[in-house]
Amino acid sequence: MSKIDYLRGNEAAAMGAKLARIGFMGAYPMVPSSEVMETIRTYIEKGELKAGYVEADGEKASHLATFGAAATGIRAFNATSSQGLAFMHEGLHMHAGSRMPTVIAIANRSLFVPQGIHCDHTDTISQRDTGWLQIHCETIQEVLDTLIQAYKISEHKEVRTPVFVCYDGYFISHSLERVAVPAQEEVDRFLPPYDPEEWNKTVPDGLPVFTSFGFLDNWFMEFKYIQWRGVEAAKQVIAEVDEEFGKRFGRRYGGLLDPYLTRDAEVILVTTGSHTSTARFAVNVMRKTGRRVGVIKIRSFRPYPREALCEAVGASQAKAVIVLDRIFNGAYTDEVKSALYPLKDRPMVKGFICGLNGRDVATYNMIDMAMQGFEMVKKGSLDQEVEYYFLRRREDQGNA
């Protein structure tokens, strides 16, 4: 039986990890995700969680400790953001290539220069080619649930790929929400203990450890092919795990993506992360005025839900797709365009770069963007493919 609690995003991530019965955490503080490691530490001190803990001397060391622990065959966890995630980059390739299931919680934050601690997706977009899976969460309840789902996805024998569970820094990590916390027994039924497979146990006295590959010149491509297949298999697995979670706990998040009122929509907004909630509200407002708008939330960023997106957009009557891009160079827009390429009647795709370093994207901003979408449809063309949205003017300088 779930109990109701009031949790912040970081606490929900830590709670999810505790319910998933992690065996190890490598930790290094990083704003805005430090509370995750601190909460896990309190759980260990209070005896609620039995896990190894290494407070490393840097994110590179903390990730490598997580990797080492995962190599011995236990469930490992880590949490970081922006600069720390960038520092781990080299090890992330090794980790994904080693096919070891791990989950890292990421509180999305912008990268330095300029210095900023607020929400931005530049940190995780920079890791999109490491081979890790990425799931973005919209609400705090989703963070807790996705963290439990993430271990099941990651440890699935077709997938065996590590996962980032991402949520917006400060918007989700530090705000408070009423959350239903599932009971440990129910989570145990959903998520069995981690059993590293036979091929991991190669050391003579049976200690499970992954023996990583040295120079594999002749078979490099084949190895990568098997790795890639694991990521592709995740498309199916993410949807299945979400469905099963929905059946057991009553909450589902749409699997790879979550379309909202898109079936008859003329303009579709595509969002990732917490401003999806604002977008849903904006869609409701516009529907009341007679405008047919819908929103698609991209939940799984890697593997990118190309087929699902094509299906959702193709089934609608959208002529314009507006992508809310929280990355300074419009990378989400590129992904959407590339995914929609196979459609016969391709809609126009426009990207608005908005919300960098936590700048608010309010309801009226989204309504404005949707209205621009309608103008695009009327005109039949768009003037700029990617545009920075709502920059301050020089006249605003006095009002910080």
Partner: protein
């Protein structure tokens, strides 16, 4: 067999297979062979990407096929060993040994920060540093432990700075056990590895001198002779520090002239008289430091 090699002969089995890609005459082979004998091929032996990869080879064939050794990327061993150690502890396997064989470039340069953090957190790991005094696997560039005036690909006029002395650095971290060793004194090396594996002595670190045939430009058959002369000229003093007591393990009564050591190596072919004086001066300073530690730790001060 010779009495002094009795300990070495106690483990006759060879755990390292001869099929790797190391150069003919590579000193690293001796270090790996005896390190594996010391753990009797069991437990965790880890290596990291460097010349160690040549002795680790291609999984699952290769020299470590009998042992099964994880290879990490360069600069990573400090974090990975910490994680492995804690994970083993939390799953009730505190008695499993974690033995790492890493290169000098990894320990002294790229992985130095992480190594320092791992020692500071006192994770029970034994480390053997295969010191060939340069980045040998990438072609022989200078590293933090390249000695003064030595030729490398990035110091063609001779290195102008003295090397890092890793045992001294980690004595300042209050590491329980640290020592220098050389492949020419394998009985000393083996005894030190055995001491490094004792749980009360961990974390431990042994810096073992291992001449590199292509990068020191020596005749492959003289690998052991070069290492022996390094010790006997006082260039590479052998000492150990064990939980508050510091001692020399091989005492050279009459040091051989430095020139005997230098003339066997092509990497010192360019040295002038002034360079030799500088090298000798550095060696004298090193001797003074050792004397100082001997007095300090025997509490004569």
């Amino acid at each position: 067999m010779l009495k002094k090699y009795e300990e070495l002969f106690s483990v006759k089995e060879e755990f390292m297979l001869p099929c790797g890609r190391s150069c003919p005459g590579c000193g690293g082979g001796i270090i790996t062979r005896f390190a594996l004998k010391a753990v009797e091929g069991k437990n965790f032996v880890l290596s990291s990407g460097s010349c160690g990869t040549n002795t680790t080879g291609i999984f699952p064939i290769g020299p470590m096929a009998r042992v099964g050794v994880p290879v990490t990327m360069l600069g990573a061993f400090g974090g990975v060993f910490s994680g492995i150690r804690e994970a083993l502890n939390v799953t009730g396997r505190e008695d499993a040994t974690v033995l790492g064989i890493v290169g000098d470039g990894d320990a002294a340069d790229i992985g130095f920060g992480l190594l320092s953090g791992m020692i500071e957190r006192r994770h029970k790991v034994a480390l053997i540093i295969q010191d060939n005094q340069g980045y040998a696997a990438t072609g022989g560039q200078r590293s933090g432990t390249t000695p003064l005036k030595a030729w490398t690909r990035t110091t063609p006029d001779g290195k102008k700075q003295p090397p890092k002395q890793l045992p001294f650095i980690f004595m300042a971290h209050d590491i329980p056990y640290t020592a220098t060793a050389a492949i020419s004194h394998p009985e000393d090396l083996f005894a030190k590895i055995k001491k490094a594996l004792k749980p009360e002595n961990q974390p431990s670190l042994i810096q073992a001198l291992s001449p590199c045939v292509p990068n020191w430009k020596i005749d492959p058959k003289r690998t052991i002779e070069v290492a022996r002369l390094a010790v006997e000229t006082g260039f590479w003093p052998l000492y150990e520090y064990e939980r508050g007591s510091f001692r020399r393990t091989v005492f050279i009564k009459e040091k051989k002239p430095l020139q005997e050591f230098l003339k066997l190596q092509g990497r010192y072919a360019h040295v002038t008289e002034e360079d030799i004086r500088d090298i000798q001066h550095y060696m004298d300073e090193l001797e003074r430091k050792i004397e100082g530690y001997l007095r300090f730790y025997s509490q004569e001060i």
